[in-house]
């Protein structure tokens, strides 16, 4: 058994598709308990039994459509008209647009590709130091993860079986905290960029608003609809997907019908990858919960850790390591069912835990050696990976500080969550 586990770990390290390894571990468990292996088929079909899951393909499709259209340019122009007149303004423009865009496209790396190409040269032109720009753009790719309707938030809610609406509310202030801290750093770095700032112009703002008129209703309808409780999450996803399709394909025609199957395929590749892992892990976690793994883990941890504060430290370290090796989606699916009951024992609120988990996993996008954004940025901007590591480091530290604040200040997450 021990030997087989080591073999499975080696397979993971050498790049076996995660879903096959999870399937193997589930089936090994079945074998041991004398359960018919056929049960794994039933568990995978459990995908068809999960509520709210339709939100994931629908939001992902909408996000890919948006990123393939000219919406990113219009968004940058609009935020620039709003914030560009301030010193350090352009850096804040980058942070704000990326956060909004990531929330809508689900933190899958498309932000760096869609927005980075616009923002990186613009920052350079405004006289920001090059490493700062690289770090900023790389970091921004996963900023906004805590804002509705980002995919990791939805997936967390589905897996943990808690109210996604409340999770959305819990993410607002912690997400803003990250934005504020990073903006502060940007202001500090940008305090003596020589370039003269364009004054605020009502005319430019009106014209930017006009250019973005088809996208403007989107955040209002979606966020307003969700936060007010008018739409369920899956309904908001359906409305968003249909609306974005009508706006970008039918009205603005920035994506042709001929191109549509390609965009659909691209977006669904990500969805298939996430949901097949979800299906397999339904099998493996059910087995682990039956076998009492969470209780054993809890018993083990309580030997060393007695207070909630210490438990949170342990959790932080664990999530940092987890985030550095595993992508956020697989991590949610595999780990949340196991740590949720343990965290409950330490009296951690389930929504607070969700936000802590996702905020810490956000660091994982930027943690060497395998943080996803680091590689996307290295590839996209044609810079050596070591260079990207170094450029991103200050941002990583700031985000780590904000994760610690989020962790030890539960009210920040829970203030907006109704009891």
């Amino acid at each position: 058994m021990m030997l087989l586990s080591i073999a499975l770990i080696l397979l993971v390290i050498f790049g076996a598709p995660l879903f096959t390894v999870i399937a193997a571990s589930a089936m090994l468990g079945y074998q041991k308990e004398g359960i018919d292996l056929m049960a794994i088929a039933i568990e995978v079909l459990g995908i068809a039994g999960m509520p709210m899951l339709s939100a994931i393909p629908l939001f992902t499709f909408a996000g890919y459509l948006l990123s393939e259209s000219n919406a990113p340019q219009r968004l940058v122009r609009l935020t620039d008209a709003l914030l560009g007149w301030m010193p350090g303004g352009l850096a804040m423009v980058s942070l704000a647009t990326c956060a909004l865009f990531t929330a809508f496209t689900g933190a899958s790396g498309v932000t760096i590709i869609a927005l980075g190409a616009i923002l990186y040269p613009a920052l350079k032109q405004d006289g920001y130091p090059d490493n700062f720009n690289l770090g900023l753009v790389t970091t921004s790719g996963s900023l906004g993860l805590l804002f509705a309707p980002s995919l990791p938030l939805i997936l967390y809610g589905v897996v943990a079986e808690i109210s996604i609406d409340n999770l959305f509310r819990a993410g607002i202030l912690p997400g803003l905290l990250m934005l504020v801290l990073l903006s502060g750093y940007s202001l500090w770095v940008g305090r003596n960029t020589a370039k003269e700032l364009a004054p605020f112009s009502w005319k430019e703002l009106a014209s930017a608003l006009n250019a973005a008129k088809w996208e403007l209703p989107l955040p209002i309808v979606v966020l307003g609809g969700i936060y007010s409780g008018f739409f369920a999450v899956s309904e908001a996803a359906a409305v968003t997907a249909l609306y974005v399709f009508l706006a970008e394909v039918v009205v603005l025609r920035e994506i042709t019908f001929k191109d549509l199957p390609r965009v659909m395929r691209e977006s669904m590749l990500l969805v298939g990858g996430i949901l097949i892992i979800l299906g397999m892990s339904l099998a493996s976690t059910n087995y682990m919960i039956d076998a009492g793994v969470p209780q054993q883990l809890l018993a083990f941890i309580t030997e060393f850790v007695s207070t909630q504060a210490n438990f949170l430290i342990l959790l932080f370290v664990f999530l940092l390591i987890l985030g550095a090796i595993l992508d956020i989606f697989s991590a949610i699916v595999l780990v949340v069912p196991l740590i949720l009951p343990i965290a409950m024992q330490y009296g951690v609120n389930e929504f607070h835990l969700g936000i802590v988990f996702l905020a810490a996993m956000q660091l994982g996008y930027l943690t060497p050696p395998v943080g996803l954004n680091l590689f996307i940025a290295s590839y996209r901007f044609d810079r050596p990976i070591m260079n990207v590591y170094a450029a991103t480091f200050p941002f990583l530290v700031i985000l780590a500080v904000s994760v610690l604040i989020i962790m030890y200040w539960p009210d920040l997450s829970l203030l907006l969550v109704p009891d």
Binding site: A16, P17, A23, I40, V44, S54, A237, P261, P369
Partner: protein, 173 residues
């Protein structure tokens, strides 16, 4: 020599086209059905029991078709430590092994879901009120068979490139 290669290429093209067509239809149906449900709820205050179930089945089918597509495009989620830090030449060798492993697992999954499928036929399980369940679940073994085939193909082509590096340039990508 050129005949079988032509056949394989045609199969690849048709396969991709079939995946894309299926994804377009399923995603389009999901979008329309989900919006339709909202309209029905808001303006006519009615809902259909089967609509909710069909939405969930559509998500299942999208998952399966997209997984097939992801194995063709090599986009399944993996922990990719080795390939980032080891020269491509050496990274191929473990890839052959992990892809054979993946193919084996998909084969087992296909076999187990095939057994389950027969059980649902035997017990006359139904979905969507009175549709035989095997129609909805039939995609499951098929998906794993296709993924098994895809992973075998990938490990085969990687093995070929290890054995005959010079031939790699001409191989279809």
């Amino acid at each position: 020599m050129s005949e079988p290669r032509g056949l394989v290429e045609r199969l690849e093209r048709w396969g991709t086209a079939a995946e894309n067509a299926a994804l377009v239809i399923l995603l389009g149906a999901l979008m329309l059905l989900a919006v339709g449900q909202i309209v029905m709820r808001m303006f006519f205050s009615i809902g259909f029991v089967w609509a909710d179930e069909l939405v969930k089945l559509l998500v299942l089918w999208i998952t399966l078709v997209a997984s097939i597509a992801a194995s063709r495009s090599d986009r399944h989620l993996r922990i990719d430590i080795v390939s980032h830090f080891v020269p491509e030449k050496y990274a191929r060798f473990p890839r052959v092994i992990v892809d054979i492993f993946a193919a084996t697992m998909c084969g087992i999954l296909a076999w187990q879901s095939w057994r389950y499928l027969q059980l649902t036929i035997e017990f006359e399980d139904t979905v969507l009120i009175d549709v035989p369940a095997w129609i909805a679940y039939g995609l499951l073994p098929l998906a794993f068979v296709l993924m098994c085939y895809r992973f075998l193909l990938m490990s085969g082509s990687d093995l070929m490139r290890i054995l005959r590096p010079e031939a790699g340039a001409g191989a279809p990508k």
